[in-house]
């Protein structure tokens, strides 16, 4: 018990030390001239207009093999809770054909222990944990990332 307590104490103090280092470093950094901001940190930047959600109904390219497919349509007001899952109202295997929607992958029928279930596994129920809509926004910082050849985007 006491060993555990000591470990917790040790971890907490280390964390606090790290935190104070980070705080002192950031406060010591020169105002402005950061990677993302163009303006002085001490001056309130003008608000950037909100980005529009992409609503094109097509299939969006994936950037890496395991990427969860993106949502290519507007999902304002879509309810996903214990009463109802609006996504599955079209994307479940039962309903997909009727609506011409993409069926959810069969991987969603396995629980975390690898057991195959008759329907969507509870751990997969909240679609937006992995699948997200996209806004029409440029990346804030350029990067060199390229998808692998096999994706052929």
């Amino acid at each position: 018990m006491s060993t555990q307590k000591r470990t917790v104490k040790y971890l907490a103090s280390t964390f606090a030390l790290c935190l104070s280092c980070v705080v002192s470093l950031t406060s010591a950094a020169p105002a402005g001239n950061t990677a993302i901001r163009n303006n002085d940190l001490n001056i309130e930047a003008p608000a950037v207009p909100l980005k529009k959600n992409i609503d094109e109904d097509g299939v969006m390219d994936r950037e890496f093999v395991q990427q969860p497919p993106l949502i290519p349509h507007d999902i304002r007001g879509y309810q996903v809770d214990k009463n109802v899952n609006k996504c599955l109202a079209c994307h479940s295997w039962k309903n997909a054909k009727k609506w011409g929607a993409t069926r959810i992958s069969v991987t969603h029928f396995y629980d975390r222990d690898g057991n195959q279930l008759a329907d969507v596994a509870p751990g997969r129920y909240f679609c937006l944990q992995c699948h997200v809509p996209q806004a029409d926004a440029k990346p804030l910082i350029d990067n060199q990332f390229k998808p692998v050849e096999s994706l052929d985007n």
């Binding site: 349509h73 309810q79 009463n83 109802v84």
Partner: protein
């Protein structure tokens, strides 16, 4: 003798009114008609206002709060559909029928049928089903007061919406068949046709409780 005379005299007055009396009756009757009819209509319109609907906490704290997040409350052009636009028919006859039905809700208010959020949620499926049935029966008239298939430019819609709306016209579907829960949260949809997706909270599909 005298009694008979009085009755006769009054009968004479009543059966042969002077033109002045007749004119007075007409004028007063007309004026009273305007006042009563106007008053009736005004008070009925008053019960169609948003302030009236959210005057009771059952509506204000539940459906109204949910509706405030939706497109019928807030949107780019500022056009709104208030409670009565969807829940009360515009035509006089159906409106009176709906208003009389709504008087039953007063008993619910007195009995406190839905006076807490929990009670409201318990009754939500029944209330929603009733409203869906009403809109199905009148071909979603309240939707169509603004959204009419005839005047929809499908080419302005997304591909999804265009295809499904075209199919809906062919199949003779009505708005509420698909557009449920657009202004309020949905109840438990397990047993509602066309939905029926599973939810872990209901103990289906594996290791949930």
């Amino acid at each position: 003798m005298a009694k008979e005379f009085i009755i006769k005299r009054y009968w004479k007055i009543l059966s042969r009114p002077t033109s002045v009396g007749l004119g007075l009756i007409l004028v007063f009757g007309f004026a009273a008609g305007i006042i009563f009819w106007g008053g009736f209509n005004t008070s009925m319109e008053m019960t169609n206002q948003e302030e009236f609907c959210i005057g009771c906490h059952e509506m204000r704290d539940n459906v109204y709060e949910e509706y405030k997040t939706t497109i019928h409350y807030s949107n780019r052009s500022g056009v709104r559909a208030i409670c009565s636009d969807c829940h009360v028919p515009k035509e006089w006859g159906p409106k009176i029928v709906r208003k009389i039905q709504a008087s039953k809700e007063l008993y619910g208010k007195i009995a406190g049928t839905i006076d807490t959020r929990e009670k409201f949620l318990d009754h939500r499926l029944a209330m929603a089903t009733r409203e869906w049935a009403r809109m199905k029966a009148n071909d979603s008239q309240e939707c169509r007061n603004c959204h009419n298939f005839e005047f929809m430019d499908f080419s302005e819609q997304g591909g999804r919406a265009m295809n499904i709306h075209n199919q809906a016209i062919k199949d003779g579907n009505t708005c509420i068949d698909c557009h449920k829960g657009i202004a309020h949260e949905l109840p438990d949809m397990r047993n509602v046709e066309g939905w029926g997706s599973i939810s872990p909270a209901h103990g289906k599909g594996g290791d949930s409780q």
